[in-house]
């Protein structure tokens, strides 16, 4: 059984009226189980020479669904401040915009494709999926 650990740290001296510091650690496990997720796509790194519209980066067809605890990691690795990546679920269900340097880590049900849309050229992205081989 593999053990994969995700760690999130959020710190700010001034976003609230007091200093804020939070660290969360999660071990990535299969749904309703203490067994670790057993699949990983690796990290894909792409640089889009042209604007993208609903480009599929995670195809639901290759993942188990219904009772799953897949996780998707996506990061906008572009530089600058404005070349955002719009992250959507299939069917134009918009999650949000990743600006350069922004990243996201979400649970994934495996029932819809994850897509990205960009407007600028040469936008860079990296992404990967941690998943379970079969539904629990």
């Amino acid at each position: 059984m593999a053990t994969t650990t995700a760690t999130l740290t959020l710190t700010s001296p001034d976003v609230t009226g007091h200093s804020f510091n939070m660290t969360q650690v999660a071990t990535l496990t299969k749904a309703a189980s203490s067994t670790g997720l057993d699949e990983f796509t690796g990290i894909t790194s792409r640089k889009y020479a042209s604007a993208q519209t609903d480009t599929v980066i995670v195809a639901d067809s290759i993942y188990a669904d219904t009772t799953v605890a897949h996780k998707v990691y996506i990061r906008n690795t572009s530089t600058g401040s404005s070349d955002h990546i719009l992250v959507e679920l299939e069917g134009n269900i918009i999650i949000g915009r990743l600006y350069p340097g922004d990243w996201m880590f979400i649970p994934y049900g495996g029932t819809l494709d994850v897509q990205v849309t960009t407007t600028a050229t040469n936008v860079s992205i990296e992404y990967g999926v941690f998943s379970q081989s079969v539904a629990s």
Partner: protein, 248 residues
């Protein structure tokens, strides 16, 4: 001067045995406003939502964040964590979206099982808010009453503009108002698709000694928000979700 803040978020993924060699992925980012070097400066603070229902048959979803309440198309960030320690307990996280694959117009992002967390950008795309204009017209008298949305006002005199002012000064639970002479414009606090019937004259109750009226015009139907975030627990017994929104 615009308030700014410095918030840094760090993330790492590591495993010594998922692959044949050790895995280490890390990302750090200072949270900025969309296309800006200014930091995100507003937050809901770190909060906990505890759900509990009488039985499994009546488990329902809860709206965690409404798109209408926040700036759309920005660089908002959402943090969620399932605080349960029972491995089988999960929160399903939904977006309203334009379609909906899970009934009732929501679409599942995924499930947060015990101890799982998520961190993601949120577009906060609201819908169109229903609007209408109520014009105080004809002959009114002191003591006449006007009622809508659970709020009643009593006319102090017969001047229609003064009555409209009284209405505009009310704090309605589901509407905000503005006034021009005797016309009060109502805008719904939240966007929703109310179907085919917009607010009509008959929805306002007027009790008048004369022929005073409150005529509704310029009704515009609303459309639902496209980015509301819903959560739904897997069990009816108590479950808690930790959450925080850092936004524009």
């Amino acid at each position: 001067m615009a308030r700014t803040a410095t918030t840094t978020v760090s993330f790492s993924l590591s495993s010594s045995d998922l692959l044949s060699s050790s895995l280490n992925i890390s990302a750090n980012k200072e949270l900025k406003r969309a296309g800006s070097k200014l930091g995100l400066s507003q937050t809901t603070g770190l909060a906990i939502k505890t759900t509990s229902y009488a039985s499994a048959g009546v488990i329902d979803s809860t709206v965690l964040f409404r798109g209408d309440d926040y700036t759309a198309d920005g660089a908002n960030k959402v943090y969620l964590k399932n605080l349960s320690s029972i491995t089988s307990e999960y929160f399903t996280v939904y977006l309203t979206g334009s379609g909906g694959t899970d009934g009732g117009g929501v679409t599942e992002i995924g499930r947060l099982y015990a101890g799982d967390f998520a961190f993601f950008p949120w577009n906060a795309t609201g819908g169109t808010k229903e609007t209408f204009i109520a014009t105080i017209a004809n002959t009114w008298a002191a003591g006449d009453t006007w009622e809508f949305d659970g709020i009643e006002i009593t006319a102090a005199d017969s001047t229609v503009a003064n009555i409209a002012t009284l209405i505009d000064e009310c704090q309605f639970p589901n509407w905000v108002t503005s006034r021009s002479t005797a016309a009060v414009t109502f805008v719904a606090r939240y966007a929703q698709d109310a179907g085919t019937v917009a607010t009509a004259t008959a929805d306002i109750t007027v009790v008048t000694a004369g022929d005073g009226d409150s005529v509704v015009s310029s009704s515009t139907l609303g459309t639902k928000s496209l980015s509301d975030i819903y959560i739904k627990p897997s069990v009816h017994t108590e479950m808690s979700l930790e959450h925080m929104l850092i936004h524009e």
